[in-house]
Symmetry: C2
Subunit: 347 residues, 2 copies
C-alpha cells in the first residue's frame, strides 16, 4: 500500500526521515508492503514544494544539504515551488499522513498544534516529534483523531526512535503502568557522566557538550530540566492516563551540582542522574524532575553518556527498562517512520 506524505518542517528530523524513506524504499516494500511518496513539504525557512506526482528525494536532499531553498528544487513544474504556508499546504495536499516536524514551543505548543488540528480535520493521519502539542494537548488531539477515524502518533517526542509508546502499546499491552522513571535528556546525562568519569566541573562539561553539538548555545531547556519535564508530562498523560499540566510538575535541573557532589556520591556508591519520575497515586499522577543519587544497582545508574533510558513499573511484568538513543537525525527520523509503519499495520 502506498502512503502519500506531507512534511511540515524539513530541518534535521525531516531530512533524516527523507534519507531513510529513500535508502530503505525496497526493504520497506518487500518486508512490510509499505510504500511512500512524499508529495508536499512546507518549511517556514526552507520554502515549500507541492508535487502531487511525488518529490525526488535525492534531488531535494541535495538542495537542502547545500543550505538552499526548496525554490531551487530542480524538478519543480511551474507553481510547484511557490511559497506556501504550512496551513495552506495541509489544506491543499492530498497527503494521507502529515509529519509535523517543527520546533517545540513548550509554552504555547504553537504553531504546531494548529497544523495538527488542521491535518486531522482534513482527513490526514498525524505523526509528530514535537513535544509541545503532545505535552499540552494530547487528549484533545487524540480525541479529534479518533473521531475522524485517524491516528495521532508521537513516538519521536520521547527518546527519539527508541520505542517507548510502541512498547506500551504492543509488548506491554494488558499491563497497567504504575510508575515511570527515566533518564530522558541526553545532554544532562552526558554532562553528569563527564563530571564523574573525567572529573570535570559542570561548566567545563557543559562547554564540551556544546562543542560536540549535544547542547545548544542557550542550554537552559536541557540543563534546567524543561525538556525532561515536557517528556514526563507526555508519559504521564499517555501511559498512565494522567491529566498533568507542565505547571503541575516540580522541576530542578543540574546546574547547581558540582564536581565535588558527584565525587562524594560516587564514593558512597551512588551516581547522580537527572531523573524524570511519575507515579500513579489515589488523586492522579504525581510527577517530578530532579537530580537523584541512584544506587549502582538501579538499571538506570549504568546509563552513561548521551543515552536515554526508561523504567516502567507495571502490574503484571514488574519493572521493564528500555535503553537507547535519545536524539539524533536518523534516530528521530526513524521515530517518524516507525509511527507510519504502525499506521500501516493497524489500518
Amino acid at each position: 500500500m502506498e502512503y502519500r506524505i506531507g512534511l511540515v518542517g524539513c530541518g534535521t528530523v525531516g531530512q533524516g526521515l527523507l534519507e531513510i524513506l529513500d535508502k530503505k524504499r525496497e526493504f520497506l516494500r518487500d518486508a512490510y508492503g509499505f510504500e511512500s511518496r512524499v508529495v508536499a513539504i512546507s518549511d517556514k525557512i526552507r520554502g515549500s514544494l507541492l508535487v502531487p506526482e511525488g518529490i525526488d528525494i535525492p534531488a531535494v536532499l541535495g538542495v537542502l544539504g547545500r543550505g538552499g531553498n526548496l525554490a531551487d528544487y530542480p524538478k519543480a513544474a511551474p507553481g510547484q515551488a511557490e511559497p506556501l504556508d504550512p496551513l495552506d499546504m495541509i489544506e491543499k495536499t492530498d497527503a494521507g499522513i502529515i509529519a509535523e516536524l517543527t520546533y517545540t514551543n513548550i509554552q504555547t505548543a504553537e504553531p504546531a498544534t494548529s497544523y495538527i488540528r488542521k491535518a486531522l480535520r482534513t482527513g490526514k493521519h498525524v505523526v509528530t516529534s514535537n513535544k509541545g502539542p503532545a505535552a499540552l494537548y494530547y487528549r484533545e488531539l487524540q480525541d479529534l483523531a479518533r473521531k475522524n477515524g485517524l491516528q495521532f502518533r508521537i513516538e519521536g517526542t520521547v527518546m527519539s526512535g527508541t520505542p517507548v509508546f510502541h512498547l506500551a502499546e504492543s509488548g506491554l499491552a494488558g499491563n497497567h503502568v504504575l510508575e515511570a522513571q527515566g533518564i530522558l535528556n541526553g545532554t544532562t546525562n552526558f554532562i553528569l557522566s563527564k563530571m564523574e568519569t573525567e572529573g570535570m566541573e559542570y561548566a567545563a562539561a557543559l562547554k564540551l557538550a556544546q562543542e560536540l553539538g549535544y547542547a545548544e548555545a542557550d542550554p537552559t531547556a536541557d540543563v534546567e530540566g524543561f525538556d525532561a519535564l515536557a517528556k514526563i508530562v507526555i508519559l504521564s498523560n499517555v501511559l498512565m492516563d494522567g491529566s498533568l499540566k507542565t505547571s503541575d510538575v516540580p522541576r530542578k535541573g543540574i546546574s547547581s551540582i558540582s564536581k565535588a557532589d558527584v565525587a562524594a556520591a560516587k564514593k558512597a556508591g551512588y551516581r547522580y542522574k537527572l531523573i524524570a519520575h511519575a507515579k500513579k497515586e489515589a488523586g492522579g499522577v504525581v510527577a517530578s524532575v530532579s537530580p537523584q543519587k541512584l544506587p549502582l544497582s538501579d538499571p538506570l545508574a549504568g546509563v552513561m553518556g548521551a543515552q536515554n533510558a526508561l523504567s516502567l513499573q507495571t502490574d503484571l511484568m514488574g519493572k521493564v527498562t528500555i535503553q537507547g538513543a535519545g536524539a539524533g537525525k536518523t534516530e528521530t527520523g526513524f521515530a517518524i517512520l516507525s509511527d507510519m509503519l504502525a499506521i500501516h499495520r493497524c489500518r
Copy 2:
C-alpha cells in the same frame, strides 16, 4: 471480539495465564475489546476438560491449586471431563487459539511440535512459550501458519513476557538487526551475581538458587548454557533471518567459574556474565554462548540477580537494550496473553 481458547498443558504457565484472563477480564474488554472464553484444557498429568460453553476459571484454578485432577472440576457436564489426548482435544475443540504450554524438549521438540502442526492444520492460531518448536522448527511452523492465514507466536520463549519479539516487530520495525547480545538465563545470572556480591563459591550459590526455586534439582540445562543456547538460536532465526541449528552453536556454561575468577574480574573493572551472542556475517548468522567479562560500561553489566536483558544492534537505531523478568508464573502467563492481544490487534 471473543476468542475461544484451548490450553495444551496447564502447569505453572497455564495457571498464570488463567489467573490473568480472569483478573483482567473487564479491563481487557474495555481497553482493547478483547474477550476470552477458555473452552478446552488438556494436560498429560492433570487431565482434560472440553467445555464449549466455557470453563469457570476460579473453579478450575481451585481444583488445580489443591493438586487435583481436572476430572474433579465441579461444573463438568457428563463427558466434559473425560481424559483426552492433546491431539484429540485440538481436533475436537472449536477454539480459535491454542496456547501450547508443555515442557521444552530441546532434542526433539516433541510432542509440542505435533500439537502445533495439528492446531495450525485445523485452523487455529498458536501461541507458545515452548522453546523446542521455536528453536528447531520455527520457519516450517511460521510458513504453515501463513499458508493457513493464521499466526504462530512465541513471545514467551525468550525472557518470558519482557517484550523481545514485539519490540522487533513493532517499535523497531524497519530496522535490520545486525547483532544480538543477551543475558537470557536468570538462574546463571543469579548465581554469578551472588558469587560477586556475597563472595559465594559456585556450589554454594547454586545451592541457594535451588533452595529459592531459581534452579532445578538437575541444573544442567541452565548452568551449562543449554537454555541460553536454545534462546539465541530462536533470536537468530526469528530476528536475523538465520537458519541455525542448536548443534551449530558453541556453548560453554558457568560451572567452571570460581569465586576467585569473579573477584579477579571485579578488581579489574569487569563482571562475569553468561552471554548469548549472535551476529550477522557474510555467510549467515554466527552465534555462541559463553561466560564473558563485560566492562562495567556495558548496558548488560548492570543486570543483576535473576533479571534478563537483551541488546540489539540495529542499522537505524544503533544499540537498543531491554531489561526485565526472564521467568515467572505471571510473567510467562502474560507473554501468552500479549501474543493473543497481538492476534487481536492484527486480525
